[in-house]
């Protein structure tokens, strides 16, 4: 059992959980994730490690309550815990001194982006952050990103904070100013990563994305997380989750992500009705 030390509600359907996990806290690197199961019978849910402290032995996870499983996780309170927690999984991000780095995050994609941005900054890069969400209320990690970035632009779809529009619009602004970048990291919903990485790619910026396919084990056992990268089959849990955006077959990826949508939908309804 891994106890919850702290819970913070970031938005109506987004929470931040601080979990007891000394070994993972000591080993984790930016870009890595964990898989957890709340109780016996729960599904295995992959979540990126947002932050951690080796001395104090904790890691932070940010959960968007999208399906039945994440909803139950998000309802956990301080003092409760999760039955199973395994990690750190996946390959760490490639952190280098690239020069001018662009970090673009949308929605809860800002959660996995934070540790990468932090590491890029620590490696001596100049950091430009573009962050977006549907509205002000749902924009997470603004203070953390502000403290980190050399420059930052916020975009909300309803214009309640920052520029009105998508992060892709914010990127177009920068591009039209003739700004150049040596490296980009784009994390968010799959459609957003596809669209934005096409734009960055067109300007010749080497772009990395972090994929969130369907996973079960997270160790290379099931192949459910497979993605087509440059015509080769890769397992996101062991070969990724980060890949060169230009080499991903996005259409195939998006299609596979939708495999269980109908099921997810039904799960949510059941969850509402029974209040599980």
């Amino acid at each position: 059992m891994n106890g919850i030390r702290k819970k913070e509600v970031l938005a109506p359907d987004i929470v931040r959980l601080r979990l007891e996990a000394p070994r993972i806290a000591a080993r984790r690197e930016p870009g890595q994730f964990v898989i957890l199961r709340r109780i016996d019978g729960s599904e295995r849910i992959p979540l990126t490690i947002v932050d951690g402290n080796a001395e104090e032995g904790w890691i932070d996870l940010i959960i968007q309550m999208a399906g039945a499983g994440t909803m139950r996780l998000g309802r956990l309170e301080e003092g409760e815990g999760v039955l199973d927690l395994v990690g750190p999984l996946g390959k760490p991000s490639r952190i280098d001194r690239f020069g001018r780095c662009l970090c673009i995050g949308g929605g809860v994609g800002l959660a996995p982006l934070l540790p990468i941005a932090r590491a890029l900054k620590a490696a001596g890069n100049h950091l430009t952050v573009l962050m977006g969400a549907r509205n002000r209320e749902r924009l997470i990690l603004l203070d953390e990103m502000r403290n980190l970035a050399d420059e930052i632009t916020v975009a909300t779809e309803d214009g309640s904070l920052g520029r009105r529009g998508f992060v892709s619009d914010a990127f177009r602004d920068l591009a039209s100013e003739g700004r150049r970048f040596d490296h980009a990291v784009v994390i968010g919903p799959a459609v957003m990563m596809k669209a934005v990485s096409e734009l960055t790619g067109r300007l010749g910026i080497p772009t990395t994305v972090s994929l969130n396919p369907i996973m079960i084990d997270g160790t290379g056992l099931c192949g459910g997380c497979r993605v087509d990268v440059g015509g080769e089959m890769k397992f996101a849990c062991v070969d990724g989750p980060e890949f060169d955006a230009a080499r991903i077959d996005w259409d195939s990826f998006l299609k596979r992500l939708g495999s269980y949508r109908e099921f997810e939908h039904r799960g949510r309804e059941k969850c509402r009705i029974t209040g599980r």
């Binding site: 070994r23 993972i24 080993r27 199961r37 019978g41 729960s42 599904e43 295995r44 039945a68 499983g69 039955l83 199973d84 927690l85 395994v86 990690g87 750190p88 999984l89 079960i216 084990d217 997270g218 160790t219 290379g220 056992l221 099931c222 192949g223 459910g224 497979r226 087509d228 089959m233 397992f235 062991v238 077959d249 195939s252 299609k255 596979r256 939708g258 495999s259 269980y260 099921f263 799960g267």
Partner: protein, 459 residues
């Protein structure tokens, strides 16, 4: 042995064979000729004292029979169910020359089940603590065997398992109707009573490396029993369509995550027509699982003939009884998908058998212009598994073969690195439960030897 009726069993996940009554077991056991050469023992990879335990069953000494088996085999209730006896002990049985060989597997299963029902009486034999600490990576049959042998010899053993459940393939792969999970749990609990410690959710190579275990965590030796869990795919068009599963994924969803239960949190796609590609036990398990998950038409597509199928004869028979159709001499060329990316069918070529290949089997050669389509909504790829590269990749200087297996001496489990041992599917590639257990036993002996501990004479 009596079995559940095929029409009934396709609508449940309960075990198919029903087990012997005491009288049935004694009657079967009395058929043993008691031949002095006991070729059955020589044909058993762990050399169970077969005539001895069969004699005990014949005489009604059931607990004694179970104890006899346990001297050589720590997991009898499991092996009695999943070992390919027809290629091992029963193949060597002299009764088989003129009729049915003795049903050694069924008798092993009987003795173990009866002991389970009545509760094990004898306290686990354990030597005094020797002060040595061993890490066992993976809790499949290889790891469990090493762990039980070393714990019995007085070592402090910690088993590190990546998943949230113990047992390896026994738990995530082999379906409930063939190997009930309650039995796997009980057998493992019996081993735990020997004093070994299980740590779940620990991925060696990620959570800690082998070197860290040896240098920082203070283990005297490490045994790698991580199996061959990485699924192979066909490499044909359409393999990323929605509705294409590796057998590992399909079976893991059903067995480990219990997706076959209506209230399970983990989903599994159900559909009337399923095609499984492959000819081994794994393919049979997948096709039979599909039959139990609302599939009306469950077809197995295999490139060679039925005689060449690597699956156990009993499994093929069970599958056929349950209405699984075999399409042999059939080579999958492409998976067809609709415009939304869902599987529509599988395109195959007919095959003829050509010259013999390295494995001694006749090579399947596709016939040009023979393509045809089998319509279906789900395709399960069951063409084999490779070793997971995680540990080889994170363990410097460990010798790995071209197939990705860890190189270890089959007789003693020693790898190219001192204090590091390996056995089971990670060394042999996909094989059998009993071979993995045999490898575990051999490695346990050399670990004790290398650590300067007394080794028990082999029975």
């Amino acid at each position: 042995m009596r079995e559940q009726d095929p029409d009934t069993r396709v609508s449940n996940f309960a075990e198919v064979p029903l087990g012997y009554t005491d009288e049935e077991a004694r009657a079967e056991a009395r058929r043993c000729l008691g031949c002095r050469t006991a070729p059955c023992v020589a044909a058993c990879p762990v050399a169970v004292a077969i005539p001895e335990f069969v004699g005990q069953i014949a005489g009604g000494a059931f607990p004694a029979a179970a104890r006899t088996i346990r001297r050589a085999n720590a997991l009898p209730a499991i092996c009695g169910r999943v070992c390919p006896q027809e290629d091992q002990c029963e193949k060597a049985c002299l009764l088989g020359k003129r009729g049915q060989p003795l049903a050694i597997g069924h008798l092993e299963r009987f003795a173990a089940d009866r002991e389970r029902r009545e509760g094990r009486v004898e306290p686990p034999a354990r030597k005094p603590e020797c002060g040595k600490r061993i890490a066992v990576v993976g809790s499949g049959p290889a790891g469990l065997t090493v762990a039980s042998e070393l714990a019995g010899a007085g070592c402090a053993v910690v088993v590190l398992e990546a998943l949230h459940a113990l047992g390896g393939v026994l738990t995530y792969g082999i379906p409930e109707f063939r190997l009930p999970k309650a039995i796997v749990k009980d057998e493992i609990a019996g081993l735990e009573a020997l004093g070994m410690r299980f740590v779940r959710n620990f991925v060696v190579g990620r959570t800690e490396t082998i070197d860290h275990l040896l240098k920082e965590d203070g283990f005297d030796a490490v045994f790698i029993g991580t199996g061959a869990g990485l699924p192979s795919f066909l490499g044909i068009p359409g393999e990323n369509a929605v509705g294409v599963y590796s057998a590992n994924e399909y079976l893991t969803r059903s067995n480990l995550m219990k997706a076959y239960r209506p209230d399970a949190a983990t989903p599994i796609l159900r559909s009337p027509r399923v095609v499984t590609v492959g000819g081994g036990n794994v393919a049979m398990d997948a096709a039979r699982t599909a039959r139990r998950l609302d599939t009306v038409q469950s077809i197995v597509v295999y490139r060679r003939g039925e005689a060449e199928m690597p699956a156990r004869i009993e499994e093929v028979r069970h599958a056929k009884e349950e209405g699984v159709l075999l399409r042999t001499l059939c080579h999958p060329a492409a998976i067809l998908e609709d415009e939304e990316g869902f599987v529509q069918g599988i395109r195959c070529l007919r095959v003829e058998l050509g010259d013999r290949d390295a494995s001694g089997r006749r090579r399947p050669v596709p016939i040009p212009d023979s393509a045809f389509t089998i319509e279906c909504e789900i395709v399960i790829v069951a063409i084999g598994n490779r070793p997971n590269p995680l540990i080889p990749d994170t363990t410097p200087d460990i010798l790995v073969s071209g197939r990705g297996t860890i190189v270890a001496d089959p007789a003693d489990g020693r790898t190219s690195r001192p204090r590091v041992y390996a056995g089971g599917d990670i060394v042999t590639g996909s094989a059998t439960v009993i071979q993995a257990m045999g490898a575990g036993r051999a490695a346990a002996r050399s670990i004790l030897e290398d650590l300067g501990q007394p080794v028990q004479p082999r029975m």
